[in-house]
């Protein structure tokens, strides 16, 4: 005659760390949204200058709000991803901090490179 505590569907509200986990998992939805947005941008660019400028005009207002939220989630994804990386990826004879720092350096470098390609 044991007692088993029932689990609520909202279990991820019970502890702050669970809630952060839920947010981290939700970030995937915004990664998917980014793909949609990117593909719309690509078709706008390939459709010519007017379409491209129309797309950027459309990207203000409500879409901008969505993108800001998406950016926050994607940043959460990036930070949690890199922070967990050294624990999943154990390189012999390389201390975990080094693996961590290398991830952040790679992130920085790649971001700078992409920005340069776009804004050049």
């Amino acid at each position: 005659m044991t007692y088993v505590k029932p689990i609520s569907t909202l279990w991820w509200l019970r502890r702050p760390s669970y809630f952060l986990f839920a947010l981290r998992e939700l970030s995937s939805v915004f990664v998917a949204w980014f793909v949609v947005y990117l593909l719309m941008l690509v078709s706008a660019i390939s459709a010519g200058p007017e379409a491209y400028h129309r797309f950027l005009d459309w990207s203000t207002g409500r879409v901008l709000v969505l993108n800001v939220v998406a950016l926050l989630f994607v940043l959460l994804h990036a930070v949690t991803w890199f922070n967990l990386a050294p624990r999943a990826m154990v390189v012999p004879h390389v201390p975990p901090v080094v693996v961590l720092v290398l991830h952040y350096l790679l992130w920085l470098g790649l971001s700078a490179a992409l920005a340069w390609v776009v804004l050049r």
């Binding site: 007692y3 088993v4 760390s17 669970y18 986990f21 998992e25 967990l84 624990r87 999943a88």
Partner: protein, 245 residues
Amino acid sequence: MADTITMQVARYRPGQEAEPVFQSYDVPLRKEWAVLDGLNHIKDHVDGTLSYRWSCRMGICGSCGMTVNGSPVLSCATFLTDYAPGPVRVEPLRNFPVVRDLVVDIGDFMAKLPSVKPWLIRDDEPPEGEYLQTPDELDDYKKFSMCINCMLCYSACPVYALDPAFVGPAAIALAQRYNLDSRDEGAADRRDVLSSAEGVWACTFVGECSTACPKGVDPAGAIQRYKLTAATHALKDFLLPRGAR
């Protein structure tokens, strides 16, 4: 500092209560008293019917795990003063059936441990004397060998809460303790259990097991590392023709 603190202890007496109720006790608040000392005080001086498990009082036997103010901890290694002025809420470990008061049924965990074959597996005859190992080779798995089977990690894990079939943090970390041991050759024997749907793939890297672990075992890390190993194996199986494996 006040000289007493209130402990709200979950009581579950089968036949008497359908579900746990809280009972409050005032216990002396002493600098050197752990939550377990508070419970011992209650048991010895106030209410002898209170049931809970403990043994070593020094964080090594792993039997005194409880939920204190919502977090899974070793009650012998958690001080009452950290919760002053109180109250301190003491509940049984979550995710396990409660037998009575703070005592949970550990049968499921006990059945899972041997399922990962936690012993050295060798094909050859044992040597005269012992298998040799360098300090570096010891370091490869030492962290995973520190587990005291306290089950705090299971109690912290939402995946285990939702799916009790999940092999779980400590058992998988224990498997890795042997997989990463230079003297062991049993990784292939452990693969079926570990890379099943109830094995590493059920884990979503919540990471709470490693936060809860009082011994720094990092079961979440052990699971992620095994995912990488299992995925590499699967990729080989997928890409290489049968004969070449």
